[in-house]
Amino acid sequence: MRFSPVLFLRRAAATCALLALPILLGGWLSGPQSTFDVKGPVARTQLDVFYVTVWVTTIIFVIVASVLAYATIKFRARGPIDKNTPVPDQGHGNPFVELGLIGASIAALVFIAVPTLKAIWYTYDVPNEQRANAYEVNARGLQWWFQFEYPAEQINGAGQLLTGNELVIPAGRPVRINLRTSDVIHAFWVPKLGGKVDMMPNRGNHLWLQADEPGYFWGQCAEYCGESHAVMRFRVIALGAEDFAAWVENQKKPARTVTPVNDAPKAAFASYDMTPKQRNSPGYTAEFDAHPFAAWTALQFPDKDEDTTLITQGRTLFKEKNCITCHSIRGHEGIGVNAPDLTHFGARSTLAAGLLENSKPNLHRWIINPNNVKPGNKMYVGVNGMAGYMDVDPATKAMTGKVHIAVNDTEARAIVEYLHSLK
């Protein structure tokens, strides 16, 4: 096996093919969390800097790689080498070449450095001239879900407006997000709107972003935060000014109460398919993925006809099963502060921190056995001294096997109906 130029060309071809792959497979860069499909000024600035780095390094790569390839082919030994083969010139180097290349490298870096510096200041905080126009919210990370707080929207007697896992913001306006955490480090990342910033304990971080147009955006916790970090997701929904105002208006209202109508139970309801699903079977339907924003909008209004009996039953069960110790449903019985606020849960498009689409079967799965859906979640094992579904020995941290909350199939159907009525 002597050296063969054929192998060499093949390697070059392989490298080129790899470089060409993304072009062949355009899909690789256009997912819902693509950093190329930017929808706001912050993400756009960051992408521009990225392109600068790509161009500069690609040019250098092409130059250096060509010289390297050329040298390897040109100067390969012809014929076998042994101790008698005349040796090549034992040159030791050339300081001018060295200095020139160092200078060129520095020059190349200046190209990258200038836009980098500009962008560092730009992306750090809302530009001064737009400060007044900026909308401010708080995002809080918890193991393993997000809470969003609207300090600007105070509700009489109930503090600020809270939502879970879905952040609704006004479009076309800068939004300044204060980042907080209640336990470990998390990070707030909505790739299409901007890069991530960490939520650090004992540190008041913030970021800003802006959605140019109304839309529905995928977000993700981007700092490893324990067992279910991989499925700690969230959504950002940007609305036009009026829609946003309307949304806020509705959110400030207490939970929707459905008065029981003495109808015969509607068989059509609660008859969804509950064939047992695997842990982590796909979370979203194809229809949802195709038009998420529309799907979200559709959820904002109550269903035309609801099974009021089931809903009433569900409300009772929600209390009886102790769900209220952790969850709060403003205006209804819930008072807990350790879990997502469910006051308008029916109007949310996702469930369990973006893991699943908020459909009835999915919610059913979650309520029957949350651990099957999201291993280790705090609803299952309890949080801040509140007992969850299962008992965990605080000393050994092992499960004792004691059950606190058990929800059977029929009960779950009622609770699902109830929670989905909360628009």
């Binding site: 004992n202 540190r203 008041g204 971080n205």
Partner: protein, 123 residues
């Protein structure tokens, strides 16, 4: 460097018996500086001045010990270089850390403010 070394060697041969006194004198200086430092903190002088004085004085002590007690002055230069690589890097790192932790835009909220916020949240 080599001429340097022989010079110190001769000097050392001379000073050999003098070292005892030299060391005792240095120890006395160290003790005195320590005394001065203690007095300094009670003096009614502006803070920055005291702080800088303290830093300078302990630096002097530091250097006295490493160059005389630890013989750096009499040893090959390389020992000094070796130790100073560590010393300078450590000093630089400490300085960098302290300044990172004191930038105001790096910590948008002070620890106190976070406490206040947390207290408000639990109210």
């Amino acid at each position: 460097m080599s001429s340097d070394a022989t010079e110190t060697n001769q000097e050392h041969a001379h000073a050999d018996d003098g070292k005892f006194h030299l060391f005792v004198q240095i120890a006395m200086i160290l003790a005195v500086i320590t005394g001065v430092e203690i007095v300094l903190i009670y003096l009614p002088v502006v803070k920055w001045l005291v702080v800088s004085l303290l830093v300078v004085l302990s630096l002097v002590k530091f250097l006295l010990v490493i160059f005389w007690f630890m013989h750096l002055k009499f040893d090959k230069l390389f020992c000094t270089i070796l130790f100073f690589i560590g010393l300078v890097l450590a000093g630089g790192t400490v300085a960098a850390l302290l300044s990172i932790f004191s930038t105001t835009d790096g910590v948008p909220l002070t620890a106190q403010a976070i406490y206040a916020e947390r207290a408000a949240a639990t109210k």
